[in-house]
């Protein structure tokens, strides 16, 4: 195993590549009882069309998430029962770009790790268990139908993207998941759950050597990787938006909004560009910004105001969201603040304060095993690591930020998603 030193006193991790191509990352922590492990595959809700050998495959929206649910059910029983023997708390999640299986435990780490590897390597899909899962996921979809934050985000994606599958719900729809069959799920598994498309991250109370040994023992069992490598088909997404505004009514107390920009996908220097984008959002709309103060004191936003960015497989967006009695006025103020920063440049002193906050944030994330594991797996799939991000925070300049700013927040690429309260009889 190779030891990788972090640019932080006393912090390091170990990495090695198993002969199957699986990347294994181990971050031992001293003085902590918990061990947290993630076994992740580079497949998410935006995975839709791919070539498997000479065969073109298209999967319905919600497939990656459905696979995630179904992986817990094996031929000999479900994974939760196996984890119950060790007391580990197991879970999984699917994002736009990755699917991760995880556990946290304070004892029997090795057995839990073996269970994790074994169940993710042993798919078992039948007509009966696929049917059964459709009822459970159907209720998960309905739960999100009642979630205003989720509805407003899906509203924005529908405005920004013509074809990209980010516009579809991660869990799909009741209709799309009804198309799923065991054959589609096996195709998807064979294409994306190949060890060389996956990462195993273990953080906590376990030695790197022992993890390496367990990988040697466990990775030879389970479903064999297909000889056909997957080739994702590029998504045809024009550099335009669909529409400027979306309005939906829900039973909420006051209007909610998400005002976003469709950005050009990042294709180089990802860690630095993502970092600078997040720093710019903080400088534009963070709690120390003039914009935030103006919006807050004028009553246009409250504590729910926030911002985010996300980039990945052919998409990149930036967005501002919250509750407001006048979302359109908020969008105007945000546009003005961005234009002002583009014209006037970035204050050096505010940039230094922002740098210090980002450095503090990344270092404090090292305190929690789940944050470390989640970050390491996310970074790995984007081809960078903790060292890259910490070094970038320490070295980026306000000039770098201004260069990135020039290409972001294009006025003709902005759209506003609004949720309005339903009209009630008084």
């Amino acid at each position: 195993m190779n030891r990788v030193e972090l640019p932080v006193p006393g912090e390091c991790y170990y990495e090695y590549t198993h002969k199957s191509g699986l990347k294994v990352l181990v971050f031992p922590t001293v003085g902590k009882r918990s061990t947290f492990a993630i076994f992740g595959a580079k497949i998410g809700s935006t995975t839709s069309d791919f070539m498997l050998g000479n065969r073109r495959c298209h999967v319905p929206s919600g497939t990656a998430h459905f696979l995630e649910h179904k992986m817990f059910e094996g031929e000999k029983g479900d994974a939760f029962t196996l984890f119950a023997e060790t007391g580990a708390s197991a879970n999984a999640f699917t994002s736009f770009d990755r699917t991760c299986y995880l556990f946290e435990t304070t004892g029997m780490e090795e057995q839990s790790l073996k269970t994790l590897i074994e169940f993710v390597r042993s798919p078992y899909f039948t007509d009966e268990n696929v049917d059964k899962e459709q009822g459970i996921i159907g209720q998960e979809i309905r739960m999100y139908d009642d979630n205003p934050d989720w509805q407003i985000m899906m509203g924005l994606f529908g405005l920004l993207y013509h074809n990209h599958p980010i516009k579809y719900d991660i869990a799909g729809t009741v209709e799309s998941i009804s198309e799923l069959t065991p054959e589609i799920l096996y195709d998807c598994y064979d294409a994306y759950y190949r060890p060389d498309n996956m990462v195993l991250v273990v953080v906590g109370n376990i030695s790197p050597e022992r993890v390496e040994q367990i990988c040697r023992e466990m990775l030879d069992i389970g479903r064999k990787a297909s000889k056909n490598k997957v080739r994702p088909i590029k998504i045809d997404e024009p550099d335009t938006i669909v529409d400027k505004e979306f309005v939906k009514k829900m039973d909420i107390s006051m209007p909610q909004f998400m005002f976003g920009y469709k950005e050009k996908p990042i294709d180089n220097d990802i860690s630095k560009n993502e970092l600078l984008c997040d720093m710019l959002l903080t400088l534009i709309a963070g709690e120390t910004s003039p914009l935030y103060r103006k919006l807050y004191d004028s009553g246009l936003v409250n504590q729910s105001f926030g911002f985010e960015s996300s980039s990945g497989n052919g998409y990149f967006y930036t967005a501002f969201s919250g509750e407001s009695r006048d979302p359109r006025a908020v969008a105007v103020e945000i546009s003005k603040a961005i234009a002002k920063m583009k014209n006037n440049g970035i204050s050096k002193s505010r940039f230094e304060e922002c740098r210090r906050r980002f450095l503090g944030d990344i270092l404090t994330s090292l305190d929690s095993q789940d944050s470390v594991a989640s970050n390491m797996s996310a970074f790995y799939f984007k081809n960078y690591d903790f060292c890259d991000i910490i070094n970038s925070i320490k070295t980026v300049t306000a000039d770098d930020a201004e260069k990135v700013l020039a290409g972001l927040f294009r006025e003709n690429m902005s759209a506003l998603s609004i949720l309005e309260p339903i009209d009630k009889e008084i």
Partner: protein, 419 residues
């Protein structure tokens, strides 16, 4: 963790674990009352507007940025018969960035936020008070936005009907217009003077932080600290069945049960173990049978309140299956009450709970939250390992007894259907 008195009514506890993130939390506690409920709810908003040293909100936030992006969190909440005003500051531990005194600078700032707010002789600035009153009004109204949470809060209010614990933590909208900067400052001073104070700190430089707090709280020793009534269980009564119609895609079902009397420590832990078997873990009956086998829902979970011993079950379900789900939730409980479970289920629940408990001390957040809950509930510190020992001592008959204490008190269905 060591807890010691540093001034009249002021206690300091600290732990120097191997934390990369340190956290200091100061909690003020007085008896809950309808009278100052809304004013207390408004205080955190005003306290974040500024201190004597940093009287401007933006300057205060910039100060937090300069302290390596320290996170400030203020809140007003209720626990049992306590009304709580709390503030915490967290950030990268001093030893990780090699900045000596970083913990002290954070501690001074947190103290000032709570005890030296930006005020004039008359009180809080009227303009700021007016702004923050609207924010509180919006918070109170926004309670309906998340229907799952709203259903739980609604059920909780029905459960504690007629008891001070039914009071909404954010107060009442009708009270807001009566508050001004002057009245709010008076309420603030009264609250601070009558509060008992707990300070919890996890991180390096703990001796220096204790010394600083001792010095700062020296002037607070003339306060009169009011006694807070101990928690009590809700008695048995006829179950309330409530149907609430709102615009939702999925019905939300909540059932609350009471053990009918106060529980001692062993009974409480037996009930928690029972609850893990029932619906508090992935191997539980509700997860395995109601979700996985019957596919009725995505979530169906049960949890115990350590304060009242109440057990709450909540789930989201298609309207056509709501009755079926309710019956399934009750059926699983009845089976367990009859003792229809094996020793493996007990051991799986026990190992699951103890496993979680063992990880509490891994983070400053987990540690401070654990010890604060222990102090609020028992008035003293109880360690995770002591509680783990109690779980180990729970026997099958203790679990059956715990299950059989439970009687339904509230059943709520928040539904989109008018029928």
């Amino acid at each position: 963790m060591n807890r010691g008195k540093i001034a009249n009514g002021v206690y300091f506890s600290s732990l120097d674990g191997n934390f990369r993130k340190s956290r200091l939390m100061i909690t003020l506690r007085t008896p809950i009352s309808r009278d100052n409920l809304t004013e207390t709810a408004l205080l955190p908003y005003l306290l974040e507007r500024g201190t004597k040293t940093y009287p401007d909100m933006t300057k205060l936030k910039r100060r937090l940025d300069s302290l390596y992006g320290s996170e400030l969190y203020t809140s007003a909440s209720s626990y049992g018969y306590s009304r709580i005003l709390s503030a915490s500051i967290a950030g990268v531990d001093a030893k990780l960035v090699g900045v000596s005194g970083l913990s002290l600078r954070r501690a001074e700032l947190l103290y000032d936020i709570l005890f030296n707010p930006s005020v004039s002789e008359k009180g809080f600035d009227e303009k700021n008070t007016a702004i923050e009153k609207e924010k509180l009004r919006e918070t109170i109204r926004s309670e309906i936005n998340d229907k799952r949470v709203y259903a739980l809060r609604y059920a909780n209010r029905l459960f504690f009907d007629g008891d001070l614990r039914a009071l909404p933590p954010n107060g009442y909208e009708d009270d807001i217009d009566k508050i001004n900067g002057e009245s709010l400052y008076k309420a603030y001073k009264k609250f601070v003077k009558s509060a008992s104070i707990e300070i919890l700190y996890c991180g390096s430089e703990q001796d220096k932080v204790r010394e600083l707090m001792t010095k700062l709280f020296d002037s607070e020793k003339n306060g009169t600290h009011k006694m807070i009534a101990p928690s009590k269980a809700v008695g048995y009564a006829d179950s309330v069945d409530k149907r609430l119609v709102m615009d939702v895609e999925q019905d939300k079902f909540v059932m609350m049960m009471t053990p009918g009397r106060e529980l001692d420590e062993k009974e409480l832990r037996s009930l928690q173990l029972a609850c893990a078997m029932y619906g508090g873990a992935p191997m539980s009956r509700l997860f395995r049978n109601v979700r996985e086998k019957q596919s009725l829902c995505y979530y169906c979970a049960a949890r115990v309140s350590t304060e009242s011993g109440a057990v709450t079950v909540d789930s989201g379900v298609d309207h056509s299956n709501a009755e079926k789900l309710k019956n399934a939730v009750i059926y699983e409980l009845e089976q367990l009450q009859k003792g229809e479970f094996d020793d493996e289920e007990i051991e799986q629940a026990r190992i699951y709970i103890i496993n979680t408990l063992d990880g509490v001390a891994d983070t400053a957040e987990g540690t401070t939250s654990w010890y604060l809950n222990s102090i609020l509930r028992l008035g003293k510190i109880i360690t995770p390992s002591e509680v783990a020992d109690t779980y180990r001592s729970v026997k099958r008959e203790d679990i059956i007894s715990a299950f059989n204490l439970l009687k339904p008190s509230v059943r709520l269905l928040l539904t989109g259907e008018e029928d």
